[in-house]
C-alpha cells in the first residue's frame, strides 16, 4: 500500500446522544501514514468522532470504513478492528492491579494468544522505545503522570496496531511532563504510523501534522495542511479559535 491509500474513510456520519446531535454529517479521509491533528472548542465532538473509529461510540448513520473493514456492531468484527486501532486516553486508563509489564502483555497474550515469553520481549522493546525500560516491574500508581502516559502508549503499540488514536494525551499532565510524552509521539510519527491526534498542543501539530482538522458544534469546519491552517484558514471561527489558544 502506498501513501495515497485511504485507511480511514468517514462518510456522512451522524451521532446522537438522545436528542443531542453530537456529530453532524461528518466526512473525513485519512490516508496510510498520515498524521491528522483535530482541534476545536470543548464539546465540539472531537472525542466522540475518534471514539467512533474503534467502536467505543456508535454512529447512528453514515459509514466508517477502517482498513477496509466497515465499523459495525458485530462483536467479533469490532474486536478484530480494535486490534488494528490503538487508543491513548486523556486519563491514561492503565490497569492499576497489574505491573507495567503485565499491562503491556495482557492484550497480546489474551487477545492475540501470543506466548508469554514472546509478549514480554515485545513489551520490553516498546518500553525501551518510550524510554522507561527500568519501570517494567512497578505498578502504575508508582509512576509519574508522564511515565504512565508513555506506558499507555506502549500498551497500545504492543498490539501492533496500524492506526493510533490519541484523545488529548497531554491534557491531564503537569506542564513539565508534557514534552516527554510529545517527544515519544513525534518519534512514533517518524516511524510512519498513521495517527489521529486530538490535541491543543499546536507546537506538536506544527511539527508532525500533515492535515489539521478544526471542529465546532459537531461539524468539521476546516480541513487544511498546517501551513495554510495556521496562517490563512478559510473559516473565521477557526481563526478566532487559533488566536485564543495561541495567545498563551
Amino acid at each position: 500500500m502506498n501513501q495515497q491509500t485511504p485507511i480511514i474513510e468517514v462518510a456522512n456520519i451522524d451521532k446522537f446522544y438522545g436528542n443531542f446531535h453530537a456529530l453532524k454529517d461528518v466526512d473525513l479521509t485519512v490516508r496510510q501514514g498520515e498524521k491528522v491533528v483535530i482541534c476545536g472548542p470543548s464539546g465540539s465532538g472531537k472525542s466522540t468522532l475518534i471514539r467512533c473509529f474503534n467502536g467505543l461510540e456508535w454512529h447512528n448513520s453514515g459509514r466508517i470504513v477502517i482498513d477496509e473493514i466497515e465499523v459495525h456492531q458485530n462483536a467479533k468484527r469490532i474486536r478484530e478492528l480494535r486490534q488494528e486501532v490503538g487508543m491513548v486516553f486523556q486519563q491514561f486508563n492503565l490497569f492499576p492491579h497489574l505491573t507495567v509489564l503485565e499491562n503491556l502483555t495482557i492484550g497480546p497474550m489474551k487477545v492475540r494468544k501470543i506466548a508469554q515469553a514472546q509478549a514480554e520481549e515485545t513489551a520490553r522493546g516498546y518500553l525501551d522505545r518510550v524510554h522507561i525500560p527500568e519501570q517494567a516491574d512497578k505498578y502504575p500508581a508508582q509512576l509519574s503522570g508522564g511515565q504512565q502516559q508513555r506506558v499507555a502508549i506502549a500498551r497500545s503499540l504492543c498490539m501492533e496496531p496500524r492506526i493510533m488514536l490519541f484523545d488529548e494525551p497531554t491534557s491531564a499532565l503537569d506542564p513539565e511532563m508534557i514534552n516527554e510524552v510529545l517527544d515519544v509521539m513525534v518519534e512514533l510519527a517518524e516511524t510512519g504510523m498513521t495517527m489521529v491526534v486530538v490535541t491543543h498542543e499546536m507546537g506538536f501539530a506544527r511539527k508532525v501534522a500533515d492535515t489539521m482538522v478544526f471542529m465546532e458544534e459537531g461539524r468539521i469546519v476546516e480541513v487544511s495542511p498546517p501551513n495554510k491552517f495556521f496562517t490563512d484558514p478559510d473559516s473565521d471561527r477557526c481563526r478566532l479559535f487559533l488566536n485564543q489558544i495561541l495567545e498563551h
Partner: protein, 278 residues
C-alpha cells in the same frame, strides 16, 4: 489565614483529661469486662432465683472426650462441621447465582434485567423461614431432593440477592475508563470482566462479602426447623436429653461467635495484605 492547607497536619483540639481517661485501652477493657460480668451475673442470679440447677461440668463431654481411641471431638463440633460445610456450599452457590443475576442486570438486555429484577423482588419479599418451607415441603417432594439439599438451596437463593447487589456495586465501582481501555485492546466483555474488572472489584467487595458470610452462617441456624444436624439442631438435641438449656445455649452462642470472629479477623488481615500489594 485559616484555610484547609494551613490546618493540615495539626492535631484537632486535644482531648480533655476525662476523655483521655475513658479512651485509654486499659479503661476500655475494664469497662467491657464489667459490663460482661454484670450480664453474666444477672443471668446467673436470675437462673438461681428460678431454681435452675447449673451443671457446667457436664458440658465438656459434648465438646471433646478422651476414649480408648484417644482424643475425640464431641457432638457440638460435629454440628459445627455441618454448619460450616452447609454455609460454605450455600455461599459458593449463592455467589454463583448472585454473579449471574448481577451480570444479567449489567448486561443492558431488557429481558436479562427483567429476569434479574423479578428474581430479586421475589427473594427479598419472602421471609427466610417461608422460603425454607417452600423448598422443603413443596419443591423437595416435586424434584426429589432431601432436607440437606433443600437447606443449601434455601440459603443460597436467599443470600444470592444481597450478594448480587454487592457484586454489582463492586463492578460499578471500577472506573469506566478501565472498560474502555480493555475494549480498545480488543478484549471481549468476558475477558474484560475476568482480567481487568473483577480483579479490581474484589477490593470493594471483600468487606461487604465478609459481612454476608457471617450473616449466612448465622441464618443457617434456621435449618434446624427441618432437623438438619447442624450446630443449632445438635444443641437442641442435647438439651432435650439433658435439660441443660442455659449451659448449652451459651456454649452454642459462643461457638457461633468464635467462628464468625475468626472469619472477620482473617479477612481483615487478607484485606490489608491485598491493599499493600496494589
Amino acid at each position: 489565614m485559616q484555610d484547609a492547607t494551613a490546618l493540615k497536619g495539626q492535631p484537632l483540639s486535644s482531648p480533655s483529661p476525662v476523655q483521655r481517661f475513658f479512651e485509654s485501652t486499659f479503661v476500655s477493657v475494664l469497662i467491657y469486662a464489667i459490663v460482661i460480668g454484670l450480664i453474666c451475673y444477672g443471668s446467673y442470679a436470675g437462673a438461681q432465683n428460678m431454681g435452675y440447677n447449673w451443671q457446667w461440668h457436664r458440658v465438656p463431654q459434648y465438646l471433646y472426650s478422651f476414649t480408648d481411641d484417644g482424643f475425640q471431638l464431641g457432638e457440638i463440633f460435629y454440628g459445627l462441621g455441618t454448619t460450616i460445610v452447609l454455609s460454605l456450599t450455600s455461599f459458593l452457590l449463592a455467589t454463583l447465582i448472585g454473579l449471574i443475576i448481577a451480570l444479567l442486570r449489567l448486561s443492558g438486555l431488557v429481558i436479562g434485567s427483567a429476569v434479574a429484577v423479578g428474581f430479586l423482588e421475589f427473594v427479598r419479599n419472602i421471609p427466610l423461614l417461608v422460603l425454607l418451607y417452600l423448598f422443603y415441603y413443596v419443591l423437595g417432594p416435586i424434584f426429589k431432593f432431601d432436607r440437606y439439599t433443600a437447606s443449601v438451596l434455601t440459603l443460597a437463593v436467599f443470600h444470592s440477592a444481597l450478594i448480587s447487589e454487592i457484586l454489582r456495586a463492586g463492578i460499578n465501582a471500577v472506573p469506566k475508563g478501565q472498560w474502555e481501555a480493555s475494549k480498545s485492546i480488543g478484549m471481549s466483555s468476558g475477558q474484560s470482566y475476568r482480567y481487568i474488572i473483577l480483579p479490581q472489584s474484589v477490593r470493594f467487595m471483600l468487606p461487604p462479602m465478609t459481612g454476608e458470610v457471617v450473616h449466612l452462617i448465622k441464618s443457617s441456624a434456621i435449618v434446624s426447623v427441618i432437623a438438619v444436624a447442624e450446630l443449632t439442631t445438635i444443641g437442641r438435641n442435647i438439651i432435650s436429653d439433658t435439660f441443660m438449656s442455659f449451659e448449652i445455649w451459651f456454649t452454642v452462642a459462643l461457638v457461633y461467635m468464635a467462628v464468625t470472629l475468626i472469619l472477620s479477623i482473617g479477612v481483615s488481615h487478607l484485606e490489608k495484605k491485598y491493599i499493600v500489594d496494589q
